[in-house]
Structures are given as structure tokens and as C-alpha cells.
């Protein structure tokens, strides 16, 4: 009798294991909390890239308004002629959480994307694109007339 019970327990354990770990779900849960921590831009950059060198380039084309009347909606457009970009980071210098977004792109995605940002105050918006072990960077200053970390 205990044999069947052992069998039953083993099978239940296997099933539990399969449901939780083997059967693939959408790959959620990779949100990198440490990169979205509050802090200064320097701290965030250090967490993200360690002390890696940046290559400043105007091959990353950033379109942002020079003056944002409403910091709650600041449209950003990013285009680039650089090849093999794997990741794009958008950083806002003076926001409490400097990292706004990290995009992981497969090769079939063109570097031509846009989003809308919230900006607390006038500051630099920095875009970093990674390709292999190289980090390309470009930035734009945006003057914010009404701060908009509010919704």
C-alpha cells in the first residue's frame, strides 16, 4: 500500500514540477528591478553598464521637442543607421528613476521607434544603443516648462 502511495506522491511532485517549471509560459518576470531603482543618473549608468566606455555618436538620431510644455507627455523618436543594435536604453537625467525604458530588439526590427516620456524637470535625455560589446550614446536637452511626473 505504501508503494502505491509513494508512486502517487512521486507523480504528484513531478506534475507540480512540470506545471511550474517546464511548461513554458510567456517569459515574464525578467524585469530588472535594480536598473529601475531610484537614484542619480550616475548610479543608474553604473548599475547598467558598469564602467564601460561610451562612443558618442550622432548616428543615433533623437527627435525630441526643444521645449516641452507638458512634462507628462514628451514624445521621443529614435532612428539610427547603426547596424546590429541589440538593445536601446532611454535615460532621463533628472527623473527620480532615470531609466525610462530598455528595448531588446531582434535583427528584424528596424531602429526606428517612438514612445512618450514623463519628465520631472528640464534635463538631458540620453539614448544608449548596444551592439556587441560597444555602447553608442547620444543625448538631447529638453526644457520642461511644467514638470510632469504626474499622470
Amino acid at each position: 500500500m505504501s508503494e502505491t502511495r509513494r508512486f502517487f506522491l512521486q507523480q504528484t511532485a513531478k506534475l507540480f514540477f512540470a506545471i511550474n517549471f517546464i511548461i513554458p509560459r510567456l517569459a515574464w518576470g525578467k524585469w530588472p528591478q535594480q536598473f529601475f531603482a531610484e537614484g542619480s543618473l550616475e548610479q543608474t549608468v553604473k548599475r547598467l553598464f558598469n564602467d564601460a566606455e561610451f562612443i558618442d555618436t550622432n548616428k543615433i538620431n533623437i527627435q525630441l521637442p526643444r521645449v516641452a510644455e507638458n512634462g507628462a507627455i514628451v514624445p521621443i523618436k529614435i532612428k539610427s543607421s547603426l547596424e546590429n543594435i541589440e538593445k536601446i536604453y532611454i535615460l532621463i537625467e533628472k527623473n527620480p528613476v532615470p531609466l525610462a525604458a530598455e528595448f531588446q530588439l531582434s535583427p528584424e526590427v528596424a531602429i526606428d521607434l517612438s514612445a512618450r516620456l514623463k519628465m520631472a524637470e528640464s534635463c538631458q535625455v540620453i539614448v544608449v544603443a548596444s551592439s556587441g560589446d560597444k555602447l553608442y550614446r547620444n543625448q538631447r536637452f529638453v526644457k520642461v516648462t511644467v514638470g510632469g511626473c504626474g499622470g
Binding site: 515574464w28 529601475f36 525610462a100 525604458a101 526590427v109 528596424a110 517612438s114 514612445a115 514623463k118
Partner: protein, 105 residues
Amino acid sequence: MSSIRIRSKLSGNKVQIRILIAHPMENGRNRDPETEKLIPAHFIQELVLSHNDQPVIQASLGGSISKNPFFTFVLKNARAGDKITVSWIDNQGISDTRDHFIKPI
């Protein structure tokens, strides 16, 4: 009704995808103007765009993305009829997903 609206515009073999998501994107630092209490953080953390069931864009987002986020992306090799799926999950565990089929020109 789904929180996600997807539009696509095909030109040649490139397609521009526009995504609008209804979401408060609260970063947790705003106060309710009436009660003066902090509004708890509620923002989308991950966004995935799949092209014919293959994830091609995986984005991690923070509270610095505007309320009702709007994104556009361009895919290089797309055809009419291709399936685009957009999914998101927020910091409260709420998620949504929507399929879209690229229309012919």
C-alpha cells in the same frame, strides 16, 4: 474591451506598428489631490511584441513612460496577413494581450 489598440501600416516589406495601451502608469510618487495620499505605483513593467509568434521586441519599462503609453516600431520583413501580438504585464500582476493581422496595402 482590450486595453491594447494596434494599427499597422505596410510599405514595401516594412511595416510600422503603432501601439496604444490604456494604463495609468502611476510611478508611486503622486498624491491624490483630494485625499493627499500617495497613489500606489501601477505601471507596465514588461511589453512584448511578437511577429508570427516569435518575440521580436522585449521592453522593460519604468514609471517614466507616459500615462496611456504609445509606441511605434518598424519591422523589416513583414507581409500582409502576418500576425502581430502585443502583451504587457504590470507591477500588480495584471496583464493583457492582443493579436493583430497586418492588412494588405
